[in-house]
């Protein structure tokens, strides 16, 4: 057993004319490189093609820019108004990240309390569900009335949307630790903290990361929705206010430019958390492992 190498391949050389193991490995390497190149190139080509089609259709049909602006015009608008747009972008980024951070802290702490104390879960879970199932756009006006600082109210709205997936996923994760491993920790008289640190937390990590990926996107949704409800009040305003503002003035290209920034922000958030998940789980968890073919 012990002498068997885990990298042993069945010898292919014995088949005579058949390719050697080294040949096959080179071929696999080539195929893998080609696939990873295509994985980037194909989506870019599709998006570029659609943009080009859009541009051509708008120009050929002379569609007025206040109905549908061409991509080139959107880009020019973005560059020309970069000063206002970038400060709005920065505000939305701040709001999103702050509410996400609060959602992580709140969601994880609450999940730990839920997992440790049955009655906390029984008592508080319905409230968490109510907060989750009531559309944020319906609660937001009330929150804006009761919370005097607009920024704090916006944060609260975004937090409500983002914390639930972290809470529910982390609770499931904390409860999903292998029962034999729990027995093992009991056998060696592990303290509650040791059991949490070395068994429950690692078991919950994949679930937490899945929750984080959802919450990342939702915190942006929450930030934008809350700002829409708040309107353009407040000293500092974000991308949602830019969109509202330009819609009042029927500055359609400006709306598209702000929208573009919102989507880009969402994409960046998604990519960052996907990469984080891969970095944290890649070496042991099924969900992030590259499968051998």
């Amino acid at each position: 057993m012990a002498s068997t190498s885990i990298t042993d391949n069945p010898s292919l050389a014995a088949l005579g004319d058949a390719p050697t193991a080294a040949d096959l490995q080179r071929r696999d390497e080539r195929l893998r490189r080609r696939e990873s190149l295509l994985r980037t190139a194909v989506p870019i080509a599709v998006v570029a093609g659609l943009l080009l089609l859009w541009e051509v259709l708008v120009r050929v049909n002379h569609v007025p820019h206040y109905i549908i602006p061409a991509p080139s015009l959107i880009l020019t608008t973005l560059v020309d108004n970069w000063e206002t747009l970038s400060s709005a972008l920065w505000f939305t980024v701040k709001l999103t990240l702050l509410s996400l951070a609060a959602a992580i802290v709140g969601g994880v702490l609450l999940a730990i309390a839920f997992a440790l104390f049955k009655w906390v879960e029984i008592g508080l879970f319905p409230i968490a569900v109510i907060l989750q199932v009531t559309p944020i756009i319906a609660i937001a006006p009330l929150i804006l009335i009761y919370v005097s600082s607009t920024t704090a109210a916006l944060l609260l709205c975004a937090w409500i949307v983002a914390f639930f997936p972290i809470l529910s996923n982390t609770v499931i994760g904390l409860k999903s630790a292998d029962s034999n491993l729990r027995d093992l920790f009991q056998l060696y008289k592990a303290s509650p903290w040791q059991t949490f640190r070395h068994l429950l937390a690692p078991s919950a990590l994949p679930y937490f990361m899945a929750g984080l990926k959802i919450a990342g996107g939702l915190s942006l949704v929450g930030a934008v929705v809350a700002e829409f409800t708040a309107g353009t009040a407040g000293r500092e305003t974000g991308l949602a206010s830019r969109i509202l503002e330009s819609s009042f003035r029927t500055e359609i290209p400006m709306m598209f430019a702000a929208l573009l920034l919102v989507s880009l922000l969402g994409i960046v958030i998604f990519i960052v958390f996907a990469a984080l998940s891969r970095a944290v789980l890649g070496h042991w968890h099924e969900s992030e492992m590259r499968r051998e073919r």
Partner: protein
């Protein structure tokens, strides 16, 4: 036979131990057993006979409903030191996020031993199970048999006086199982701890143990104890000998006698 003789004071002693589950099922009825120093005892029986329950009772993972369970060593009474026991589950039960080294280190880490202090001990038990070269890999990179070896190394890292094994090789293929049987016997002989080994294989129990406790279900109970007075080391010559076959026949008959009238297919 010299090395299979139990000493006068048993390591652990069960007197009329019963276990009734919350749902009313009598999982184990009136079990009595003395496990001596350097015994290799098998609990043999079909599923539902209480053999795993008995093991969990001895491990302290569940409490007896009635009866008495006592550990040797003056004054320790019902309690035991947390490092006197090793437990091997049917599945390897390794932490997938931790490398082999960290999995084996776990019992010592929980007892407060630093990585550096534990390193020589961990290296030694990995050597014992033949996995010295694999300290730095994750469990998923190992075969089923190798994972089970890691599990055994982890159970042995505290140098327990009693190793409890709950059908540890049941999920492995025949070749791997035979190899692990032999390696387990070699380690047991060299390090002189006691083993209680739960199995449903007559052949495995005869090959490994000096005592076989035959159990029957509904309610789970001990029906017979059979001594296998054969010298160690036992190798392939023993496995193919007529005496081995005679023991297997005797144990099978005892088992079938116990099951007579019991519908095992339920």
């Amino acid at each position: 036979m010299a090395d299979a003789t139990p000493s006068a004071a048993p390591l652990v002693r069960l007197r009329q131990v019963s276990k009734r589950f919350a749902n009313g099922t009598l999982a184990l009825q009136g079990m009595s057993l003395d496990c001596g120093e350097h015994d290799f005892i098998s609990f043999l029986g079909p599923s539902g006979c209480g053999k795993s329950t008995a093991l969990r009772l001895i491990a302290g993972l569940t409490r007896a409903s009635s009866g008495e369970l006592a550990w040797s060593r003056a004054g320790s009474g019902q309690s035991r030191s947390d490092r006197e026991l090793g437990f091997v589950f049917q599945e390897p039960t390794l932490m997938p996020w931790a490398k082999v080294f960290d999995n084996v280190w776990l019992p010592l880490k929980l007892a407060g031993m630093s990585r550096d202090a534990a390193a020589p001990v961990v290296a030694q038990v990995l050597e014992m199970v033949g996995l010295s070269r694999f300290a730095d890999v994750y469990p998923r990179e190992l075969s089923g048999g190798m994972k089970m070896r890691v599990s055994i190394a982890r159970a042995l890292v505290t140098r327990p006086r009693l190793l409890l094994m709950d059908e540890p090789f049941a999920a492995l293929d025949e070749m791997t199982r035979i190899k692990l049987n032999n390696d387990l016997l070699a380690i047991w002989r060299e390090h002189r701890f006691s083993v209680i080994f739960v199995t449903h294989s007559v052949y495995e129990s005869v090959y490994l143990s000096n005592r076989i406790v035959v159990m029957a279900p509904r309610p789970g109970r001990v029906v017979d104890e059979i001594r296998i007075d054969e010298p160690y080391p036992r190798g392939e010559a023993f496995r193919t000998s007529t005496r081995y076959n005679a023991h297997c026949t005797a144990v099978s008959q005892s088992l079938h006698g116990a099951l007579h009238g019991v519908d095992i297919d339920h």
